[in-house]
């Protein structure tokens, strides 16, 4: 009896472990196998390795790629293009993404789409792709510091410019509350200090805020995470004489609860007038922290919160004026442009980087068509 239970449980665990082994591919898209083309008809298979499926942002990228693939196939009149869209469960799972990229190479695709978590970890596989003459197209944050010529083009938001858009949107709202000699604090929460997209966004926000404040005659002191402080344009004043303290915080891991803790510290400072969360996780961390502190809003005595991306929680907070506004990228567009670039690269055509754009939205324009189409739940 004991033996029978042991065998049964071992089987259940082995089965489950197999399922777990599909960590990154658990959410792989349908239509993943190479399409059997008709005689003489060309067919292309794309492998797309994303940063994950953990946020609805990635689901929107996937949706955009799926729709564009469908459109191209419909134009061709047969299943000319197929794709396999994968990604690790978490943006900390660098090793899982390396495995997925290796598997993608083994599938001998016509082209690969890649949003790298850590380029260094993928370096050998990227070189193998180059040797095998498989074109790589970057998307979202792309493949920062990739060997020259390894990535043919990128379909991505200019994240530095997107950070500036967030600063512009926030500054318009808070400039009336600034006074020389009266110290106030503007916070920024970034989920990490390693990802190119997040750091560029964070730095874009800090640099633009420094420029705007300096142009209006205010002294700024930038403090907090060393990476962001060091890479920014830098302070124009000291902690003692600054009119505005720009405080940058980064949690030890990319989780909502740790982002919420860091956001809570900024929101709890009595001189804080505004806060920026540079991606969906960080922005939701601000909303979580505010659930306890209840200090954010659009009133003159409330903290102006600005987020990034969307999702039901951020959309709800913007609509309800808990969060003043947010910057939306065009994730559906990123997915769609990615497929176009992959198709062109696979056919041997010349390809170049495409900025997929971004926009600032508040409760006033959240329902406008040009904004709404890029928002997702």
């Amino acid at each position: 009896m004991k033996k029978a239970i042991a065998i049964l449980l071992s089987m259940v665990m082995a089965l489950s472990a197999t399922a777990c082994g599909g960590n990154g591919t658990a959410a792989s898209a349908g239509g993943t196998s190479a399409a059997p083309a008709g005689s003489g008809e060309e067919s292309y298979h794309f492998e797309i390795v994303s940063k994950g499926f953990q946020s609805t942002y990635w689901q929107a990228v996937y949706k955009g790629s799926q729709e564009e693939l469908k459109k191209l196939n419909s134009e061709a009149g047969y299943e000319k293009y197929t794709m396999n869209f994968v990604g690790p469960d978490s943006e900390s799972d660098v090793a899982v993404q390396v495995q997925e990229f290796t598997s993608a190479l083994n599938a001998k695709p016509s082209a690969i789409g890649l949003a790298a978590l850590d380029t260094d970890a993928l370096l050998d596989s990227i070189k193998s792709a180059q040797s095998a003459k498989i074109p790589i197209i970057g998307f979202d944050s792309g493949v920062p510091n990739a060997p020259e010529g390894a990535v043919l083009a990128n379909a991505s938001t200019d994240n530095y410019a997107a950070g500036k858009v967030a600063a512009d949107g926030m500054y318009d709202k808070i400039k009336g509350r600034l006074q020389k000699g009266k110290k106030v604090r503007i916070g920024e929460v970034n989920q990490d200090a390693t990802s190119e997209s997040i750091t560029n966004r964070g730095l874009g926000f800090i640099d633009e805020m420094i420029d705007k404040l300096t142009a209006d005659g205010y002294k700024v002191f930038v403090t907090g995470n060393q990476k962001y402080v060091g890479d920014s344009k830098g302070s124009t004043g000291t902690e003692a004489n600054a009119d505005v303290i720009l405080e940058v915080r980064v949690p030890s891991q990319t989780t909502t609860e740790l982002c919420a803790t860091e956001a809570g510290v900024i929101l709890n400072e009595s001189d804080t007038i505004a806060i920026f969360g540079s991606n969906q996780v960080a922005a939701e961390g601000i909303i979580t922290a505010n659930g306890t502190l209840q200090v954010c809003g659009t009133g003159d005595d409330q903290i102006i919160a600005v987020g990034f991306d969307s999702g039901s929680v951020i959309k709800g907070a913007v609509k309800g004026n808990t969060m003043y506004g947010a910057v939306t990228q065009a994730p559906v567009m990123i997915g769609s442009v990615l497929i176009d670039l992959l198709a062109s690269a696979a056919a041997g055509e010349e390809v170049k980087d495409k900025d997929t754009g971004c926009a600032f939205y508040t409760s006033a324009n959240i329902d406008n068509q040009e904004i709404a189409q890029n928002l997702y739940d």
Partner: protein
């Protein structure tokens, strides 16, 4: 005689145990230190935040204290709470279940994992570390598979089903009241009584002290060991509910490491790593130390990774005290 005299002169030590008195001292020192070092920490809202982020760790810790006392461990609770809360969220948002239904599904799933852990460990005699490491991986994958890799959100305040956000905190006159602490204190009291005053608790402690002697005296050791893991599962389920009602986004595939906060809290509170002793009140104090560090360290401007280093050092201190106690007992 000498020893008895000393004990009589230390009523506080006798009531709570030396380690718990030290832990209370550490809590007071930490609280004073953070309050002096940061003006923002001294605010009422910090206490609310501390409570809010403490619930899910405390619930996990209360549960895991039982396997720890048996001489085992339950590593599956960290990824487990993410799995249970994300499945609950999936049932609510995708399957149209009421929030209460989502909560019951989360609890049921947690109990199943707890039962599986208990059966494998007690009946098949597999090492608890390995068994729960496996179920930790299973829980991690299970949530992702069941929800197709999608992150989840439980209804927000003000939306249908948003009442779940008021279980642990309510707003009265613009001020947030952390009512969750009332539930926590009640649970600590109830589970303390179960551990100290009921047959379940006594047998669980006895398993950790001398499992073989208990078996030879005719007690169904398997049954009580399974119950210890069921309790751990039940509290992981409750922790999942508190996590989902506190935070906005539940990310599948995460949660690894959360169990260490809970296990660390239990150990700091005096639960022996080799089993046979421990208390729920001690666990409560231990979790308060962990939560104070998590909440307070960011206020003194320490970079995030330093926070982990300091928490690790506190844990080393707690384990060292546990080891010293054992050597003294031997």
């Amino acid at each position: 005689m000498e020893k008895k005299k000393t004990e009589t002169h230390r009523p506080l030590l006798r009531s709570f145990g030396a380690q718990q008195v030290i832990v209370i001292g550490v809590i007071v020192v930490l609280f004073l230190f953070f309050s002096v070092a940061s003006a923002s920490f001294r605010r009422y809202t910090t206490v609310v935040t501390l409570c809010n982020y403490m619930y899910y760790i405390l619930l996990m810790a209360i549960g895991v204290t039982f396997p720890l006392i048996t001489g085992g461990v339950d590593l599956s609770i960290g990824t487990g709470i993410i799995c249970y809360s994300i499945v609950g969220s999936y049932m609510i948002s995708q399957k149209g279940m009421p929030v209460l239904g989502g909560m019951l599904v989360a609890l049921l799933l947690a109990l199943i994992i707890g039962f599986v852990n208990g059966i494998i460990i007690a009946k098949l005699d597999l090492p608890p570390f390995i068994t729960t490491l496996c179920t930790m991986m299973i829980a991690r994958g299970l949530g992702s598979i069941l929800t197709g890799g999608l992150s989840g959100v439980w209804p927000m305040a003000g939306s249908p089903g948003g009442w779940c956000r008021s279980i642990f905190k309510i707003t009265v006159g613009g001020r947030v009241i952390p009512i969750g602490m009332i539930w926590m204190i009640l649970l600590v009291a109830v589970m303390s009584v179960i551990l100290r005053r009921t047959r379940v608790g006594r047998y669980i402690i006895a398993i950790g002290s001398n499992k073989e002697a208990l078996r030879l005296s005719g007690v169904n050791v398997v049954k009580w060991q399974v119950i210890a893991y069921l309790i751990s599962g039940l509290f992981a389920g409750l922790s999942a509910i508190s996590y989902a009602c506190t935070f906005t986004n539940i990310t599948p595939g995460t949660g690894a490491g959360l169990e260490l906060d809970a296990i660390g809290g239990a150990i700091i509170g005096g639960t022996s790593m080799t089993g046979g002793s421990g208390s729920i009140f001690g666990t409560f104090l231990g979790v308060l130390v962990i939560s104070l560090l998590k909440t307070g360290l960011p206020y003194i401007g320490l970079q995030a990774n330093w926070q982990q280093i300091i928490t690790g050092m506190v844990l080393i201190g707690a384990v060292a005290i546990d080891m010293a106690k054992r050597h003294q007992a031997e």
